[in-house]
C-alpha cells in the first residue's frame, strides 16, 4: 500500500489484512513494553490544516509506538495560516526528509492532490479531508465492531450480514462516507438515517438504505450496530433543521431509544460527543457504548496503517 486516501479503494482482503495487523498491534498495546522498533529512522509528519487534537495524538502515539520520529506541523501558528500553499508546505516537508505524511485538511481531496503530486515522495495518510473521507476512523470502527462481535476470535473475520445504522449529519460526514464503503467491502448492511436536508444528493444511488425515521428503522432492522454522528451547531444556522430540541427528539439516541435496542447491540460515536443532542449521557456511558474502545483501537489501526505504508520498500508509482 503506497497511500491510504479512501476506503473506497480497499478490497475486502486488503481491509481484513489491515484489521488483522491491527490485532497484532493491539496485542503489543497490552504488553509492558508497548514500543516496536519497526519504523526506527523513519519520519512521520502530522500535517494538520484543521484542528483535531484527538486524531493528531492518536496518529502521534501510533507513530511513536513504531519508533518513528514525529513532526507535528499545524496550520495554526505556522506559515500555512499566512497563506503558504499546500505545494510549498509539501516541498518543505520533502526537504525535511518526511517518509510519511498524515494530512488533515478542510478541503476534500487535498490528500489525494498531495499523493498525486511530484512535490513529495512520501506515503500519504488521509486523516480526514473536508466532507470526503476519514478512512482510519472507518477502519477503527470496523475493528471495534469485529472485536465486539467475535470476542477473542476476530482475526480473519469479515462483517458479513452485520447490520449497521448510521444516524445524523450524513451530508457533511466524512466518517459516514468512509464507513459506508468499508462496511460494504466487508459485507455489512448499512442504513443511513437523517432528515432529508442532511442526506447527500444522489445518495439513493449508493449501496445503502436511506431512512428519515429513526424509530421505524430501529424497529425494522434491530441493528447490530448503531452509530451516532456528531451534529455541528452551525448546521442549525444554515436551516438544515430548526433547532437542537427538535433534532434530539427526532434523531437523538435517548435513554428510551437505547432501552429499545437489542441488549447486544453496540452503540458507537466517532467523538467528540454532544451529550444530550445526538446521544444521551446514559447511552454514551452504557456498557453497549464503545466510545472509549474506539479511541484505544484508533492507535492500533493507525499503527497498522503506518506499518503498511512505511515499512516495506517503496512501491513503484503505478
Amino acid at each position: 500500500m503506497r497511500h491510504l486516501l479512501s476506503t473506497k479503494d480497499l478490497s475486502r482482503a486488503e481491509a481484513i489484512q489491515i484489521l488483522d495487523i491491527a490485532e497484532d498491534m493491539a496485542d503489543v498495546q497490552t504488553r509492558e513494553v508497548k514500543k516496536l522498533p519497526t519504523l526506527r529512522g523513519k519520519t512521520v509528519v502530522n500535517l494538520f490544516f484543521e484542528d483535531s487534537t484527538r486524531t493528531r495524538i492518536s496518529f502521534e502515539a501510533a507513530a511513536k509506538r513504531l519508533s518513528a520520529d514525529v513532526i507535528n506541523f499545524a496550520a495554526k501558528g505556522s506559515s500555512v495560516s499566512k497563506g503558504e500553499s499546500l505545494k510549498d508546505t509539501a516541498q518543505t516537508l520533502a526537504a525535511m526528509g518526511a517518509d510519511g505524511v498524515v494530512i488533515r485538511h478542510h478541503a476534500s481531496g487535498a490528500p489525494q492532490v498531495l499523493a498525486q503530486s511530484d512535490w513529495i515522495d512520501a506515503g500519504v495518510v488521509n486523516a480526514g479531508d473536508g466532507t470526503h473521507e476519514h478512512p482510519t476512523q472507518a477502519l477503527l470502527d470496523a475493528f471495534t465492531m469485529r472485536r465486539r462481535l467475535h470476542p477473542g476470535a476476530s482475526r480473519g473475520k469479515d462483517l458479513d450480514g452485520v447490520s449497521v445504522v448510521i444516524v445524523g449529519d450524513i451530508l457533511h460526514s466524512r466518517v459516514a462516507r468512509s464507513n459506508l464503503w468499508l462496511l460494504r467491502a466487508l459485507g455489512a448492511q448499512v442504513t443511513f438515517v437523517a432528515p432529508a436536508t442532511l442526506v447527500p444528493v444522489g445518495a439513493s444511488t449508493w449501496p445503502v438504505e436511506l431512512s428519515f425515521d429513526l424509530d421505524a428503522t430501529l424497529a425494522a432492522t434491530r441493528p447490530d450496530v448503531l452509530m451516532m454522528l456528531r451534529i455541528q451547531s452551525e448546521r442549525m444556522n444554515a436551516a438544515y433543521f430548526p433547532n437542537a430540541r427538535e433534532y434530539a427528539r427526532q434523531w437523538g439516541l435517548s435513554d428510551e431509544r437505547l432501552a429499545r435496542l437489542r441488549p447486544d447491540s453496540i452503540v458507537m460515536h466517532p467523538g467528540p460527543m454532544n451529550r444530550g443532542l445526538e446521544i444521551s449521557a446514559g447511552a454514551a456511558d452504557s456498557t453497549q457504548s464503545t466510545v472509549l474502545e474506539q479511541v484505544a483501537n484508533g492507535v492500533s489501526i493507525r499503527m497498522a496503517v503506518l506499518y503498511l505504508l512505511l515499512s516495506g520498500e517503496r512501491e513503484a508509482l503505478s
Binding site: 476534500s108 481531496g109 487535498a110 492532490v113 466532507t131 462516507r177 444528493v201 444511488t205
Partner: protein
C-alpha cells in the same frame, strides 16, 4: 494583373481550399479583402498557399474570451491572448469585462480595444459590464461604452450573475436603446455558495459542495421571461445542463429573442474527470454529466444553441496547483476550441463545416454586432479566414498554447483537426501552424489601419 502589389498585407492565393459548403475554390486575397473565389492563376507577387485538403472557414469569432488586461497581466494580456486566438483560428474576440479596473467605463473599453488594434492578431471587441464594478447594484455607463470608439454592443457581468430581477429587467430594457445585448452568466448565487462541482451522486461521494443544475436553469427561465416581457435581446453564456437546453428550446419556440452559447469543454468533458481532484477541471459553470453533454450537443445540432464560445479563462499555475477548493475556476480554450468542436460535433456527424462556420463565426459576429467578420467568401468581404486541416489527429500538448497560462484540460487528449492558417484583415497571423512575429504583425496592423483611413 501583373502590377506589383502595393496594397497593405500583400496578396495571397489559397489554392485548392474547400469552402464550408463543400465546394473547392482558389481564394485570392488582396488588401485585406477577398478579391475572388473560383479558379485563379497567380502572378509573381502573389504568395501561393497550398490549401489542398484544408477547409476554409470565415475567421472564427469568440464571443466569450477573458483577456485579463488590465489588472491580471500575470495571467494574460491583450497581446498574448490574441496570439492564442490567432493560433486557434480566431480573428475576433469579445473581451469579458471582469478586468481590474472593471470594464464598466468608456475609458477602459477604449483602452482594451486599442491594445487589440495595436497588437494586430485579432479584432478585439470589449464587452462592457452591466453593473458598476460587477457588483450587481447600479447600471454601468452602458450608453457611454456603446458610443465610445470601442462601440460596445455586448454587456455582461460574466463571472457574476445579474441576479437581482429588477436590475436585470432594467438592463435588458436599457441596452435595447443601443442595439446591445445582455450576456447573462446564469448562476443563482444563493444556491451556489461555495459550490465546487456539479451537484449529484459524484459531488456527494467526493465531498465537494454541489452546484445544482437548477441554479442555472432557474435564472435562465426567469431571464427569458423577462426578455419576453420587455421585448429585449438576451444572450445566455455557457449553457451547461440538459434542463437549460430545454428552457431555451421552449423560449425560442415561444418567439423570445434569446440566443445561447455552449463552450467546447461542456461539449466534450464530464464531471467524472473530477475524481482526480485535478483543479484543471475546475470551471464555472462546472463540468456536468454525460447526459448533459449529449443534450448540449443535440442543442447545437438543432440550433437551440446558437454559438460555441470558448470562455478562455487563463490562470497562473499556482491557482491550479493546489487543493480543489482553493483553485480558480476556468480553462484556457482558444487553441483547443476548433479541434474540440471537430472531435465532439463534426466527427460525430452532428455538424458539417457550414454549421461550424455558423456557430463559430457568423452567428457570434451577428449577436455581437461585429461587422467585417461574418461572410460567405463573397468578393469584397473582409479577408478574415481560417484554414483547417480536418484530417489531422494528434495528442494535444502544452506547446500548442500561446497565451501566458497553461491551464488546459486537454493535455494528453487526442483531438481531431488542426488550424493551419489564420488571416486577419488579409494578414497571415498563423502560417502553417506558426504564429507570425509580434513586431511584423503590429506593423502590418498599423499600415492596414492607415490604408483604411486613406480610403475612407
Amino acid at each position: 494583373m501583373t502590377r506589383e502589389s502595393t496594397a497593405p498585407n500583400g496578396r495571397y492565393l489559397l489554392k485548392g481550399a474547400t469552402l464550408p459548403n463543400g465546394d473547392g475554390a482558389d481564394i485570392l486575397i488582396e488588401g485585406g479583402r477577398i478579391v475572388s473565389t473560383g479558379t485563379g492563376a497567380a502572378d509573381a507577387a502573389t504568395t501561393v498557399i497550398d490549401a489542398a485538403g484544408l477547409v476554409a472557414l470565415p475567421g472564427l469569432v469568440d464571443l466569450h474570451t477573458h483577456l485579463r488586461e488590465p489588472g491580471f497581466e500575470q495571467s494574460e494580456t491583450v497581446l498574448t491572448g490574441t496570439r492564442a486566438a490567432a493560433a486557434g483560428g480566431f480573428t475576433a474576440v469579445f473581451a469579458m469585462a471582469n478586468t481590474l479596473p472593471v470594464s464598466d467605463t468608456a475609458g477602459v473599453v477604449e483602452q482594451v480595444q486599442a491594445l487589440g488594434q495595436a497588437a494586430g492578431y485579432a479584432t478585439v471587441r470589449p464587452i462592457g459590464a452591466v453593473t458598476v464594478g460587477l457588483a450587481g447594484e447600479l447600471l454601468s455607463e452602458i450608453g457611454a461604452m456603446a458610443q465610445s470608439r470601442a462601440a460596445v454592443r455586448v454587456f455582461s457581468d460574466d463571472g457574476k450573475c445579474v441576479h437581482d430581477s429588477l436590475l436585470m429587467r432594467r438592463a435588458l430594457e436599457y441596452v435595447k436603446t443601443f442595439d446591445g445585448v445582455v450576456a447573462q452568466h446564469s448562476q443563482d448565487p444563493r444556491l451556489t455558495e461555495n459550490a465546487q462541482m456539479n451537484e449529484g451522486a459524484l459531488s456527494s461521494e467526493l465531498g465537494l459542495k454541489g452546484w445544482p443544475a437548477v441554479a442555472e436553469e432557474s435564472i435562465i427561465a426567469r431571464d427569458v421571461l423577462l426578455a419576453e416581457h420587455v421585448g429585449a435581446r438576451l444572450h445566455i453564456c455557457h449553457l451547461s445542463t440538459a434542463g437549460s437546453v430545454d428552457v431555451v428550446r421552449w423560449a425560442k419556440a415561444r418567439g423570445i429573442q434569446v440566443t445561447a452559447e455552449a463552450t467546447p469543454h461542456h461539449l466534450l468533458l464530464t464531471e467524472e474527470l473530477i475524481r482526480s481532484y485535478d483543479a484543471r477541471y475546475k470551471v464555472n459553470p462546472p463540468l456536468r454529466r454525460d447526459e448533459d453533454v449529449q443534450a448540449l450537443r443535440a442543442g447545437v445540432a438543432d440550433g437551440t444553441i446558437d454559438i460555441i464560445a470558448t470562455d478562455h479563462a487563463p490562470h497562473p499555475r499556482e491557482s491550479k496547483e493546489c487543493e480543489w477548493d482553493a483553485a480558480a475556476f476556468g480553462m484556457v480554450g482558444l487553441e483547443s476550441a476548433l479541434p474540440v468542436v471537430q472531435t465532439a460535433l463534426v466527427d460525430t456527424g452532428l455538424l458539417d463545416w457550414a454549421d461550424v462556420a455558423r456557430v463559430l463565426s457568423n452567428q457570434p459576429a451577428r449577436i455581437g454586432r461585429l461587422t467585417g467578420h461574418s461572410h460567405s467568401f463573397e468578393n469584397g468581404a473582409a479577408a478574415n479566414i481560417t484554414l483547417v486541416d480536418p484530417a489531422a489527429r494528434s495528442v494535444f500538448e502544452l506547446d500548442r498554447l500561446h497565451g501566458k497560462s497553461t491551464n488546459t484540460p486537454y493535455e494528453g487528449v487526442t483531438l481531431s483537426g488542426s488550424v493551419r492558417w489564420t488571416f486577419h484583415q488579409g494578414f497571415p497571423t498563423l502560417r502553417d501552424g506558426v504564429l507570425a512575429d509580434t513586431a511584423e504583425t503590429a506593423t502590418a496592423a498599423r499600415e492596414f489601419a492607415r490604408s483604411q483611413e486613406v480610403n475612407a
